[in-house]
Structures are given as structure tokens and as C-alpha cells.
């Protein structure tokens, strides 16, 4: 009897998550429908105009898709030179030592800092620096947002990569050493090939995090609804246009914002799915 209740309880609990997720998708699709119907799905994705003028309303998601993808990609590029060495330090060179555990704790700590604090730091410290170095006269830019984003995603990329590097079997490494390989060669020829798809998937998960980041990006990207013509110009991301404008949006504009939300949801879901598949492959190999 008790067992049955327990089982049913678990069943209900397990059922709630898919229902919530399905409900979110359902709500997004129904509310976004108006925008897709009005502009056409592909026209909405490829139009770069975001015009509020009553009567001539025209909403397209391209500037925001571009902004999101540019900041995410740049953040990923900036994050690799920092997160990969940390992962190697913790997972290979100083594996199991006190230094390594201190370093990995500090890196993980970065993940716990609220994004508004990264935003403030970016706004009051990094932004004046960008202006002083004459990189961009207005300070806010795709580049500024990406730099801060890259720091935010380092812990996600670094700690997971370190786990995969730790998992490389010792026999393989010892075999390589016995053949006279140097440490650098072992890392290049043994560790990376074995842990490669795992490391790749940890970066995919980091990307997932960068895609949806809102507060920090809003504070640093400049919030202009045009396709950025260079990385030092201002732009806007999908998450930040929603945060900025949903408050007073209604009808078609609200529907367009929700449609952007749906597109963001899809991009994030696809990227996470790729990550999951890669992790599975890494485990089998």
C-alpha cells in the first residue's frame, strides 16, 4: 500500500516537469502565432526592420538574432584561452592537489555571481576602459558585452572540461609516456583526442548559458535595434529586446516579442541537444 502511494507520488512529480515545459512551448506558440501569421515565419526571421510607428508597424527578428549570435560567438572565442588552461591545470597537471581544488573552487564561484554584478562591473569598469582605449567612442558595444559574457561562461566551460580530462584513462597516458612522449605531446595526442567530444560538449553548454543572458547584455550592448556593422558598434540581443520592451508592448508588438522568445527557446534547445548528444558519444568512446 505504502509502496503504491510512493510510486504514484513519484509518477506525478515526474509528470509535472514535461507538463510545465509543454505548457511554456504551447503558450509561446499560441501568443507568437499572430506575429508569424502577419509577417510570415521566414520573413519575420529575415526582416531587419523594427518599426513602432502606428500604422506602419514592421517587426523583424534579424537584428536581434544577429546580436545574440555575435555576442555568443565572440564570448566563446574569448573564453577558450582562459577556460581550457584552467581545465588542464585542474584536470591534468595538478590533478588532485590543493592548488587545483582552490582554483576550481574559485572558478566555480564565478558561476555563482549574479549577472547584475557582472553588468555593474562591465558598466563602471570595463566600459570606461573601452572608451579610454578608443576602441569604441560610445563604450557600449557588441565587444563590451561579449567580453563580460566570456567571463561569465568560463566556469561552465572549465569545470565540465576538467571532469572529462580527468576521465582520460591512466593506462593510455602511461603508455604514451613509456614510449617517450613529453607531457605536451601526451596532452595533444592522447588527452585531447580522448576527451575531445566531452570538452566540445562543455563549450556547447556554456554557449547555452551565453545565449539567454539578459541583464548584463542589456547594460552593455547599447540597445539599438539595427544589425551591428562591426563588433565595436552597438546592437541588441533577443533576450534584451524582450526585457526592454515587453512592459508596454501590446497586440502585434507583444506577439512579435513572444515570437522572438520562441526563436530563442528553439535555438537554445537545439544547441543543448547537440551538447547532450556529444556527451553521450564521449561516454561510449
Amino acid at each position: 500500500m505504502n509502496d503504491k502511494i510512493y510510486k504514484n507520488l513519484l509518477f506525478v512529480a515526474a509528470l509535472i516537469m514535461p507538463i510545465v515545459c509543454g505548457g511554456i512551448v504551447y503558450a509561446l506558440v499560441t501568443d507568437a502565432y499572430e506575429a508569424f501569421e502577419h509577417f510570415g515565419f521566414f520573413k519575420f526571421l529575415t526582416s531587419s526592420e523594427w518599426n513602432y510607428t502606428q500604422g506602419a508597424e514592421q517587426y523583424g527578428a534579424l537584428p536581434f538574432i544577429t546580436g545574440t549570435l555575435m555576442t555568443t560567438l565572440l564570448a566563446l572565442i574569448f573564453c577558450i584561452p582562459f577556460s581550457l588552461p584552467v581545465a588542464l591545470f585542474v584536470g591534468e597537471y595538478f590533478k588532485g592537489t590543493k592548488v587545483a581544488s582552490v582554483l576550481s573552487t574559485v572558478t566555480d564561484l564565478l558561476a555563482g555571481i549574479p549577472s547584475i554584478i557582472y553588468g555593474l562591473w562591465g558598466f563602471y569598469t570595463l566600459r570606461p576602459l573601452i572608451m579610454a582605449m578608443n576602441i569604441s567612442p560610445q563604450g557600449s558595444s557588441i565587444l563590451t558585452a561579449s567580453l563580460v559574457l566570456s567571463i561569465m561562461i568560463i566556469p561552465y566551460a572549465a569545470s565540465l572540461s576538467a571532469e572529462f580530462i580527468k576521465m582520460v584513462p591512466n593506462d593510455l597516458k602511461e603508455g604514451a609516456y613509456s614510449l617517450g612522449a613529453t607531457r605536451a605531446e601526451v596532452i595533444r595526442k592522447v588527452v585531447f583526442p580522448v576527451a575531445g567530444s566531452g570538452i566540445f560538449s562543455s563549450y556547447i553548454l556554456a554557449i547555452g548559458r551565453a545565449l539567454g543572458e539578459t541583464m548584463t547584455v542589456t547594460m552593455l550592448i547599447g540597445n539599438t535595434n539595427n544589425i551591428p556593422d562591426s563588433i565595436t558598434s552597438t546592437g541588441n540581443s533577443m533576450a534584451s529586446i524582450i526585457a526592454n520592451q515587453f512592459g508596454e508592448a501590446d497586440d502585434l508588438r507583444l506577439s512579435s516579442l513572444i515570437a522572438i522568445g520562441l526563436v530563442l527557446f528553439m535555438i537554445t534547445a537545439i544547441i543543448n541537444l547537440i551538447g547532450k548528444i556529444m556527451i553521450k558519444r564521449a561516454r561510449i568512446a
Binding site: 510607428t53 567612442p137 563604450g139 542589456t218 547594460m219 547599447g222 539599438t224 526592454n244 512592459g247 508596454e248
Partner: protein
């Protein structure tokens, strides 16, 4: 077991009786950030006098009006009055002006303390037609001021905003170019520069960015000690946004529902980018299960805001008090507010 249950129930009943006994009503409103510094002081004063608490969310005029339309707040704050079209979509509402304020053109320019600007020059700066600080039209307005040869960085609002409405409403009146290309609205497609969320956001960006210029509610420029320009009015006077200059802008005719723009006033000494800021409530206060006490408290709050005591606070925090005739009209409008069809104020 039964005994414990009984005593727990009893204490619940006691607590709820006590809660009913005191007449605290919690009012909630949302909307414009522009008058927020004024409201913060006024609501606190009001709470200490009447036991009623007021919670106000500064989410922007557009958001406030939407909350009112969704009937989830007692009042909305807005710097833009409802258009005829918006009025037609909602149950009848009453606009109550609470104070007057100025939208200032704030800037960050090394070594320049008093900049003078005219309406068409401001319009051309925000439209990107005047690109450099040492443009000859700026130099002509500011003889003797050393203007740097730097690119102007306009800063505007990324969210829908009553402040944007007041500013662009003014530009539309003074610049035919602005009227035909951009127009007035709570969100406008500014062609260049960068945007930030809320009045505090824009003020923060201007403060932090050299060679920038932007528009904010006056109190935000005062609070962050950002310099702001004197703006030329219809009579050719360059005016600072003082309390007196803002009040002067409202010396014209005021319609019975108080829905009017006072930008680009032709009165002497008037600051041209001045505005009323309104609280908007439903004429019929019985909606969304609101109690009569709540309706009475809402009117009581508005009466307090129209009182001399609250209006004096307005000038202390760099807004301007309402002219006597506006207060008169508003009191009359408040008397038309009903609960279940019965007028609340006698």
C-alpha cells in the same frame, strides 16, 4: 488532538479579527519613472498621516497603463495622457495631474557648463544631422564656449516611456523634419546613438560617457549632478528648467479632462519641454473585487496629492506645483468618481 486543532483555529480567527479591526488599506500603482522621486516622498508622507500604504512600481508609463487596463492596479502613473483611441478601448477613466516636471537635455562635455540649445538643433542632433560638437549651428548658439571637435553620442530610452513621449512631442512641434520622419510616441525609432532602460539608465550612461547627450526627467539630472542645457522657448528666451519656468508653461488654457500637452508653450519665461504627469484611475471604482475602502483610500490619496502640503513637496524635489486652476478642475473630476454608481466624494 481535537483540543490543539480548536486552539489553532481560535487563534486564526483572532488574528483575522485583529487584521480587520485596523483600517490599513494597501494601494498599489505602477507606471512612470519620471515622477518617481516625487511620489516616493509623497507616498511616505501620506502613509505616516493616514495608515494607508502605497506601493508604486516604476515600470514606465506604458507598462502602468497596461496594468490599469488589465485591472490589476489601483492607479497608473503616466507622463503621457491616453489618446482618444486608447480611451475608447477602456472603461471610462479620470486623469488627475499630480505635479509638473521638465525633461532636461543633459550632456557630458569636458569643460562646458552652460550649453544653450534650440529646438531644431536638438532635433537635428537626435536625427544625426548635426554630428559634431563643434558644428557651426551649435557654435552660433553658444558664442564664447569652446566646443570640442568630437562626435556627438545621443542617448535615448530603450523601453517605452512617457519621457520619450514628452521629448518627441516637443521635437515634433518645433521641427517639421522630426514630425515627418520620426514623430512623437512612447517608443520612437531614433536613428543613432545608444539606448538604456529607464530614466536612471539613461542618466547613468550620460554620466559615464564623454561627448554624450540625452533626455531625462529633471530630477535624475540633478541627482547625478549632470549638467543640462538651457533651451530656447517660443519667445526666443533661453530658459533653465526651474520650478517657476515649468509653472509658466501651464499658464495657457487647460481642458476639462486635463489631457493636454504643454510643451513649446508661448508664455514668457516658460521652459519648453515641460509636462504634467498624471495618475489615471477608473471612473467606476468597483472592479476586480476592489472594496469600497480601497476606492475611498485611492481618492483620499489623490486628494492628498492635490493638497498644498503635497504640492509644496513638489518644488522641494525639483518638480513644479500645479497651478490653482488645475487643482480646481481635478477636484471637480474626482467628484465624478463612483463606487457602484454612487459618487464617493461628497
Amino acid at each position: 488532538m481535537k483540543k490543539i486543532f480548536k486552539s489553532v483555529m481560535m487563534s486564526f480567527i483572532m488574528v483575522s479579527l485583529v487584521a480587520c479591526g485596523s483600517e490599513t488599506v494597501e494601494l498599489s500603482g505602477a507606471g512612470a519613472t519620471f515622477p518617481l522621486p516625487f511620489y516616493n516622498v509623497v507616498f511616505e508622507q501620506y502613509a505616516s498621516k493616514s495608515d494607508n500604504q502605497v506601493a508604486y512600481g516604476g515600470i514606465g508609463s506604458g507598462g502602468g497603463i497596461r496594468n490599469l487596463r488589465d485591472k490589476i492596479v489601483d492607479f497608473a502613473g503616466s507622463d503621457a495622457f491616453l489618446s482618444d483611441k486608447e480611451m475608447a478601448e477602456m472603461a471610462p477613466v479620470v486623469h488627475v495631474p499630480t505635479c509638473m516636471g521638465a525633461v532636461v537635455v543633459a550632456y557630458n562635455l569636458d569643460g562646458v557648463k552652460d550649453l544653450k540649445l534650440s529646438g531644431d538643433v536638438i532635433a537635428d542632433i537626435f536625427a544625426g544631422r548635426i554630428k559634431m560638437w563643434n558644428d557651426e549651428r551649435l557654435a552660433a548658439l553658444n558664442p564664447g564656449v569652446k566646443l570640442p571637435s568630437e562626435t556627438i553620442i545621443p542617448v535615448y530610452r530603450s523601453d517605452g516611456s512617457g519621457t520619450t513621449f514628452v521629448f518627441t512631442d516637443y521635437l515634433t512641434k518645433v521641427s517639421p523634419m522630426w514630425a515627418s520622419e520620426y514623430g512623437a510616441g512612447k517608443s520612437v525609432n531614433f536613428p543613432l546613438g545608444q539606448a538604456a532602460k529607464g530614466n536612471p539608465g539613461v542618466a547613468g550612461v550620460i554620466k559615464q560617457t564623454k561627448n554624450s547627450i540625452g533626455y531625462v526627467g529633471s530630477e535624475y539630472a540633478f541627482a547625478q549632478k549632470i549638467p543640462y542645457a538651457s533651451v530656447e522657448n517660443q519667445r526666443g528666451e533661453f530658459v533653465q528648467p526651474t520650478s517657476a519656468a515649468i509653472s509658466a508653461a501651464a499658464s495657457g488654457e487647460i481642458p476639462a479632462d486635463t489631457r493636454c500637452s504643454i510643451t513649446n508653450s508661448d508664455a514668457a519665461g516658460a521652459y519648453p519641454i515641460s509636462t504634467f504627469t498624471w495618475m489615471i484611475i477608473y471612473k467606476e471604482q468597483n472592479y476586480s473585487d476592489r472594496t469600497k475602502e480601497q476606492a475611498e483610500a485611492t481618492l483620499d490619496l489623490l486628494k492628498y496629492i492635490l493638497s498644498d502640503e503635497a504640492q509644496n513637496i513638489a518644488s522641494e524635489v525639483h518638480y513644479a506645483p500645479l497651478p490653482a486652476k488645475v487643482k480646481e478642475i481635478s477636484m471637480k473630476n474626482l467628484k465624478s468618481v463612483t463606487y457602484d454608481g454612487v459618487s464617493i466624494l461628497q
